[in-house]
Every structure is written in C-alpha cells, then in structure tokens.
C-alpha cells in the first residue's frame, strides 16, 4: 500500500475533527483566557496573617497617630486615629501613603559625596568610615578661629531627645549654633519670645478655647498645626460660634472656609496689623494688664495712632469697616492672632511678625486661656537650655560646617538662603536623610538614615502645641544594612572631631532614657491609641512601662503649665523706623507681578512623599507639580497667556519655564509659583532641582523670601 497525499490530508482532517472532541481547543482557550486576566507580570497580592499596629506619622511635624493594617507584618493600609485628648490623628493625603516610603525609588542606599562644588560635580559612593573621618577633620577646621564661621546643626525636627544630643555636641565647639528651619508655623510664638524683656516660658496656641482666630496667611485648613484640631475647629463655618478671620491675598482653601476674609494687598500685612492696633488703642479695647506688660507701650501707642484704619484699608485693599470689625472681634474675647504661610512661602518678614505678635500682647492674649498659653518642655530639658535660632535669622556667612538632619517636610528654604549663611568659600554641608531630597543638591556629603517604619523615631509635640508630648513611630520593618542611626553617626563624628559627647548607647536607648525622665517627673498623662481614658504618668511603675505604652501607639501629654508667669515685652525694641517705612514697600512696578511661592506641607519634593501622590499632583490638578504657576485669568489675559501655556518667569535671580494655569482665586497681579514634586520618574538630578521656583526668590535682609518682583512671558 502506497501512502498518497490524499491519505495524509484525510488523516489530518480526521485529526482535526477528532481534536474537536478532545479537551485541547477548549481547555487551551480557557487557560489562555485565565492567563490574559492574570498576567504573570502583574504584582501578586500579599497573602498572610492580618494584624494591626498603632504608630505615628513622621512625614511632617504634626505627628498624627495612625493605625496600620499589616499583612505579613508589612503595613498595607493606614487610618488616622482621632483622639480628642491628644488632639491628633487625622491623616492628610501624604500621610495615607507614608507606608510606601521605605520603598521609595529615591532612597539613598549608601553614603555619597560630591566631588566638588561646581556644576559638573558628581555624586560618588564613599565609605562610611571615610565620610566620618573627612567630616571630623572638616569640623575641627571649621571650629578653628581661622575659618571665619562655626559649626552648626540644622534640626528639621526639633524637640527630640536627639535634638538635645545635637545641642550637647554643638556645645563642644566654639560658637556652635543649633538651628531650626525657618518654619512659619511657630513664627508668631518665636517672635513673641524674642520680644520678651524677661524670661518667657515656651508658648502654644490654645485654639480649643479661642473665640476668634485672626490668621495672617496661616493655612490653618491646608497643612498647618495638627490637622485633626484644625478641621474639627474650623472646617464648619457655623460650628460653635468660633470665628476664623483670614487675612490673605488670594482666596485660599482656608480663606474660603473662614467666617471672613480680607484680601490684603501683598506686603501690606504689617500696615494692616498697625491699622488693627489703631482701632483697638483708639477705642480703648486693649487689655490694661497688657499695658503694664508692654514696657514700651507709650511708644507703641504713639506709633499705631499714626495708622488710621481708612488710609490703612485703602493701602491694604480691604474694606475699612471689615478692618474695624476685625479689630473689635479680636479685642472682645480670647483670641489668637497668628501669622504663617505654607512651607515654601516661608516666614513673614520680621516687621510683620513683630507687629502680629504685638497685637496678641495688646489685647492680652498671652498667658490667657483661649489665647497663647505657656507650656513646659519635656522633662529632662526644662530650665535654661540651648539657644535655638531659625536658619534665616543667623548672621550671614557665619556657618563653616553644617549638618542638616531630616528631610524637608514641614519647612523648606531657598538654597540661596543657605549659601548666604555659609562662609564665603561654601563651607561643608552634610545631609542626613533617607532620600535624595531637594536639599541633596546643596550637600557635600549625604548620609543615609533609616526611613520611616524602619526605626524608632520620636514624635515630639508639634509646633504651637499647648503642652509638651512624647510619642513614638514604631519600626515595623527591618532596617536596611546601609542606613545609619543618626545618634550613632553623631557619636562617631564626636570621636572623629575630638568633641566630648556623653554616650547613651543607640538612638533607641536615647528615647528610652527620655521615657525614664518622664516617669521620674511624674508629670502628665499617658493616652493609649485606642481612645481609652488617659492614665497619669505617675501611675506607671517606671520608664519602661511608659515606653511600652508609647510603643503601642500611646502618647504622653504634659500637664498644663503654671499660668501665673507674667513676662514683660518690648514690642518695638528691634524695629527701626526704616523697617516700618519699608513695610508698605510692595508697590509693584507696572508690567510686573509679585511672585509668591507656594507648596503643600509634607510634599515639598518628590522624595518626601510616596509616588502614589501623583494622584493629586500629576493625574489631577488638585495640587500643583513643581514649576506650575497660577494666575488670575485677568492677569493672564493682560500677559497674553492662557491655560496650559508654557511661559518663562523671570526675576532678577533667574528664569524658569513654567506651566501656566488660570485660577480665579488668585489675586490679580500675583504669580503663585508651585514648589512641589515633579512627575513620577523624573531623573534624580531634576528632582533635586525641584526647589527651582525658590531659586527665583529674592532673600530680604531679614531672611524672608515671600515676595519677589517677577515678569512672565509666553514661550
């Protein structure tokens, strides 16, 4: 039998028919369908035991209590734990993704050093030992008389036990300076303490009991203080008769929620404060006690009497009747007058800060319930401590070596400000950070510290809190072998630079020591994270018991401070007539705009937030990526610009190509320029430059950089 072509075809045809009666086609179809629905390269969901742990967020100074839902011990979801006793526990957008931070693509995975100071300088890996040795040498040199500067530490999260160690370390250097960020959140409080003629205890804002809050630009509902408290008190206009008055050029998120809003002309805040004081003084609404406590009251009174509300209102661009009503509102009941801005806009100018602080003194808010109250420091740090200066307030060219701790979160500053504070030849800058953050660009050495969730971190009282507190961020994930404990690093630096530093073991033992001191002081209450009733610290057997409670998410809160203190103040002590004359200076030239940088707290660069924050920055226009500018539609029209145009923004300090968005809430004549993250996946070098907008800002003599004259042109 000979096999023919026809036979083969028949066999194949039979095979084909037969195949239809086998599972082959049907099963393959089914399996392929399943395969396409579950591509192998899609991430697989974690499986494993679910558990819950309490901790605290460390992305910004608010330090919110949170509950982490964990799978296999890894946090997979976070929830705020509102707690009325600790006034805490509402998470912001960034906080909800803080558990992504250990896996951040911009993590620094070993010490790095720049090869030089010029533009072509490269970041190269170095060893930890070499870094410590080189730094030890530089610190010794910086401390020598010939350097022209001193050693300084910029602590971006002051108030920790580690902060205390920094201060002790600095005391080993001649002229060592302990610096804090030029944060504006406690600007008014800092100004008040600076005005005090006698010892003034630490201060806090008693928002809970205030009847009226007058905010000079403080974004109370948009990343300021403790979100839980701010939202509870101010997000409902009709609630509880509490009145929020917002003085701010543009109709911000806070301004639209405020009971009244004064759209002040930028730069006239100081004059407006004088106008308010004028009404209070003329109508005799000021506190008689304050009259005694303000040592230069006659001079202050004479000054404010020169600022009649009508011309002031005309200059500031507000309704004179509203101005008078506002003055009466803050004088008639316990009130708080607070100045502030988002982190990028930085501190108010010194004159404004002093005059805002002055208003509080004038109506007797200081030391009064519902006003600005006294508080105590954490036990073990009471009493005369070390001087604390904000970076923008130190003399120019006075820093030869600077160690910056922590990433910028609650505060940032233009790099030009830092350059101005460093000695002429640039000095040495060391950055301790888990990430290649916006500040990496100005550092000579980068030292990787542990990311949130990988180490015990102290969460001290947020700026402006009415009492000291102590809580912990809990390490739920193992640390990376390359990350360094900041305290251990400090100890090795002290050895390398020949400075005496008492050895308390590790960063963790430093914190445990603080818990011991709290236990020994028998002050305050400990509140568990589950919202149960607080227990007096004195009822805890020892520091270990308090530590345990805090490790479970609890918070120690100090007792109210003794309110009988009556410090005296000099309001105008540091103000010169020239300062006052300048305070109405922001009359912009025709054809130019006033550039005001803005940002969102905790989201100052792509390195300080989870990449998933792209939802609000990149995938929607709810928040602005760095390099976006907002203009009033009328202003935009004037400059021939429309939505989504690209435009060059020019100031005397430089030029930036920006994306233009029209926003009717922006005051005409203003140019709101966003400091924030760049789109995900932006190269590291560009990310480091994300403070681009800040490089356009002019630094004033007092170190503030809020307003800069700018022009804009379509490209």
């Amino acid at each position: 039998m000979k096999l023919t072509r026809r036979d083969v075809l028949r066999f194949a045809g039979g095979g084909l028919i037969g195949t239809l009666f086998t599972p082959i086609p049907w099963k393959l179809l089914d399996d392929t369908a399943i395969w396409t629905q579950n591509w192998a390269w899609l991430p697989k969901l974690p499986r494993g035991p679910i558990s819950t742990r309490f901790s605290h967020c460390t992305l910004c100074p608010a330090g919110c209590t949170l509950r982490a839902r964990c799978c296999n011990g890894v946090p997979v979801g976070l929830t705020g734990v509102p707690n009325l006793a600790t006034k805490n526990g509402v998470l912001c957008a960034a906080g909800f993704a803080s558990h992504h931070m250990p896996y951040h693509p911009l993590r620094l995975n070993g010490p790095r050093a720049y090869t030089g100071k010029d533009d072509g300088s490269m970041l190269i890996p170095v060893t930890m030992d070499a870094t410590v040795e080189a730094l030890g040498r530089k610190l010794r040199a910086a401390a020598s008389a010939t350097s022209g500067g001193s050693v300084a530490i910029l602590d971006q999260r002051p108030g920790r036990a580690l902060s205390r160690a920094y201060q002790e370390f600095l005391s080993g250097f001649q002229g060592g300076q302990y610096l804090v960020s030029p944060s504006s959140e406690d600007g008014t409080l800092r100004a008040l303490r600076n005005l005090s003629a006698t010892q003034c205890p630490p201060l806090g804002y008693d928002f809970e009991n205030a009847r009226t809050v007058l905010s000079f630009g403080a974004p109370l509902l948009d990343g300021w203080g403790v979100p839980e408290q701010m939202y509870r008190l101010f997000s409902d206009r009709s609630a509880s008769g509490r009145k929020l008055i917002q003085i701010e050029s543009s109709k911000s998120r806070t301004a639209r929620a405020a009971a009244s809003w004064l759209p002040v002309a930028p730069g006239t805040e100081a004059v407006l404060a004088l106008g308010l004081a004028n009404v209070i003084v003329r109508e005799g609404l000021y506190s008689k006690d304050a009259e005694r406590r303000i040592k230069d009251f006659p001079r202050y009174r004479d000054l404010v009497l020169r600022y009649h509300p009508h011309p002031v209102a005309a200059l500031a661009g507000v309704d004179p009747d509203v101005l008078v009503d506002t003055a009466r509102a803050i004088a008639s009941s316990p009130s708080i007058v607070v100045s502030g801005a988002d982190p990028a806009a930085g501190p108010a100018d010194q004159t404004t800060e002093i005059l805002v602080a002055g208003l509080n003194l004038l109506v007797g808010n200081v030391g009064r319930k519902g006003g600005i109250v006294y508080r105590r420091d954490v036990p073990g740090t009471d009493g005369p401590g070390y001087a604390e200066t904000a970076l923008h307030q130190v003399p120019d060219h006075s820093i030869a070596a600077l160690i910056m701790d922590g990433m910028e979160s609650g505060a940032t500053f233009p790099h030009s400000l830092l350059k101005r504070k460093l000695v002429e030849d640039g000095g040495t800058v060391v950055l301790l950070s888990p990430y290649l953050s916006g500040h990496s660009a100005v550092a000579d050495y980068l030292v990787p510290t542990a990311s949130p969730w990988e180490t015990w971190e102290e969460v001290p009282a947020p700026p402006g809190a009415t009492s000291a507190s102590f809580s912990l961020a809990v390490p739920l994930l193992p640390g990376r072998e390359y990350s360094v404990d900041a305290y251990t690093f400090l100890k090795s630096l002290s050895k390398a630079s020949g400075v005496n530093l008492e050895d308390h073991g590790s960063g963790e033992s430093l914190l445990r020591r603080r818990a011991e001191m709290i236990a020994a002081s028998k002050r305050g209450m400990v509140y568990a994270a589950d919202g149960s009733e607080g227990k007096p610290a004195s009822s805890f057997a020892n520091g270990e018991a308090i530590w345990q409670s805090c490790a479970d998410g609890g918070t120690w809160v100090d007792d109210a401070a003794d309110a009988s203190s009556k410090p005296e103040f000099n309001i105008l002590g540091q103000l010169t007539d020239a300062d006052l004359a300048r305070s109405a200076r922001m009359q912009q030239a025709a054809g130019s705009l006033t550039l005001v940088p803005f940002s969102t707290r905790a989201a100052l660069s792509g390195a300080t937030i989870s990449p998933v924050m792209s939802k609000v920055f990149q995938e929607s226009d709810l928040r602005m990526n760095g390099g976006t500018v907002l203009l009033n539609p009328k202003t935009a029209l004037l400059f021939g610009l429309k939505n989504e145009d690209r435009a060059s923004v020019r100031t005397k300090n430089g030029l930036l190509i920006a994306r233009v968005l029209c926003d009717p809430t922006v005051k005409p004549g203003l140019l709101h320029a966003a400091v924030g993250p760049l789109p995900n996946g932006t190269p590291v070098a560009d990310e480091e430059q994300s403070a681009g907008v800040l490089s356009l800002c002019t630094i004033q003599d007092d170190g503030s950089w809020r307003f800069t004259e700018a022009t804009i042109e379509k490209v």
Binding site: G77, A93, S235, K615, P679, N680
Partner: protein, 249 residues
C-alpha cells in the same frame, strides 16, 4: 442549605461641598485601598487613574467675589439605565442587585472604552499602562483588591474589598446583615473634614438617607434620569444651580 435572606441595600453617599477643603486625602486613601498604581512618567490629568477625583468648581465671578467648591467625583453609582452597563459589550459591569453597587470587573473588560464615553460624570478611567510599583512596594498592596492590567477600564466600586471584609465578619458572627460601621469606604474614613457620609439609602433612618432629603442636597445631571446614588450638598445656591450643567476646572 439554609436559604440566605439578605437585606437588599442601596448604598449611597452624601458629600458636603461646603466642608470639603480639597485636600486630596480621599484620593490618596482610595489609591492605597484599591491598589491604584503610581503614575508613569508620561501620565497626565487625562490619562491618570483616580477612582475619586477632586476638581475645583468656580462660580465664575471675578476676584474677590470669586468662590470655589471642590467636588469629589467618585462613580455616581447610577441606578437606572446605568450608562456604562447599557453600553458594555462584555458584561464587565453590572448593577449588583444586593447592594446597588455598579460593579466593574476589569478582568472581564476588553478595553473598548465605550463606557468611558457613555459616563456623563467622567468617573471611569482606562489603564494605559500596566500597574507598576517601585521595587518592594508591591508588599504594601491591599490584599483585598486585585490589581488591574493594562488595557482595561476601571472605576470606583464603593470599596468592594471592604464590603467583602464586612460580609465575612458578619458571617463569622452568624449575622446575615453587615454592620454599617464595618463597611465604610476608604474616602469616607479618610476625609478629615467629615464631608462624606456613606450608608444605605433604603434605610430611611440612616444619616445618608436623611441628609439626601435635605433641601440643600442635590445630584449632578438629574436631567439624564440616571438616578445616581451619590448626593452632594451645599448651602451655596450657585453650586446647586450648576448641578445640571456643571463644568469642573
């Protein structure tokens, strides 16, 4: 087997636009809860995926009379002639008879995007990229929601992962009905201003049902007759006047 007799619910939402400050906490908690991946470098406001998107709506007046509300826009959970259900050639979306949730099953979707065109609220999103998390971050995925692949449409399912968890918990305790406190979508839980209320519209005593009946409550595009189950509320008359012809910034 015992016949399960579950209560029929119509889950709905009420968003107070006067309370919303446009902080974005709902958007991030939603992305974390529902395993929505971070944006790729090229993603924009048009190609990004946000199951709930907060956009500004302006009264159109000139400064300083200008006024803004922020409008969080999740899937509106249309009940009648649900536009996306009506057009889907794949049956990849349906209205769940037990809960009223318009449930999207992205794995079933073939990616024609007809539903996105049909949705009058622009509440549907397309995955232009495969979901990608930075190395190691996939350990932080919520185990209760499956990630979606490139080429499918997805949208808010009222945190169905949480509904499942609440049902499991109820069953374990021998209950047939879930406890309202056990089923709270992530955005509702996240809102720092407590602007969002969630619950069963069938339960006349629920906060959401009572709130929805308030004269200042409204729904967007009622004229289309989609009977959406997401209500909004504002004291501002201009906001309510815009409800049938709204334009978000």
């Amino acid at each position: 087997m015992e016949q399960a007799t579950e209560k029929k619910s119509r889950f709905g939402m009420l968003i107070d636009l006067d309370r919303c400050t446009g902080c974005g906490a709902c958007m991030i908690s939603c992305a974390v809860e529902n395993n929505i991946a971070p944006a790729e470098q090229k993603a924009t406001t048009r190609t990004g995926v946000t199951w709930i998107r907060v956009s500004a709506m302006s009264n159109g007046a000139e400064f300083p009379a200008t006024d803004t509300v922020y409008v969080p826009m999740p899937c509106q959970q249309c009940e009648k002639d649900t536009p996306c259900v009506a057009v889907c050639p794949q049956n990849a979306v349906d209205v769940d008879p037990q809960t009223g949730i318009v449930g999207q099953v992205p794995q079933r979707c073939l990616g024609c995007r007809y539903c996105m065109t049909a949705c009058p609220y622009h509440a549907r999103y397309f995955d232009w990229w495969d979901p990608r998390w930075p190395e190691g971050m996939e350990q932080t995925l919520n185990p209760d929601v499956a990630p979606r692949m490139r080429g499918v449409a997805e949208k808010c399912n009222f945190c169905h992962g949480r509904l499942h968890a609440a049902r499991t918990k109820a069953a374990a305790e021998g209950r047939t009905d879930i406890a309202p406190a056990d089923y709270v979508p992530a955005c509702v839980e996240a809102c720092p201003a407590h602007a969002i209320v969630f619950g069963d519209l069938n339960d006349a005593e629920s906060e959401v049902a009572r709130g929805a009946a308030h004269p200042h409550s409204f729904r967007f595009l009622v004229k289309l007759g989609t009977e959406s189950k997401v209500y909004y509320r504002s004291e501002r008359a201009w906001v309510r006047d815009n409800a049938d012809a709204f334009r978000l910034a």
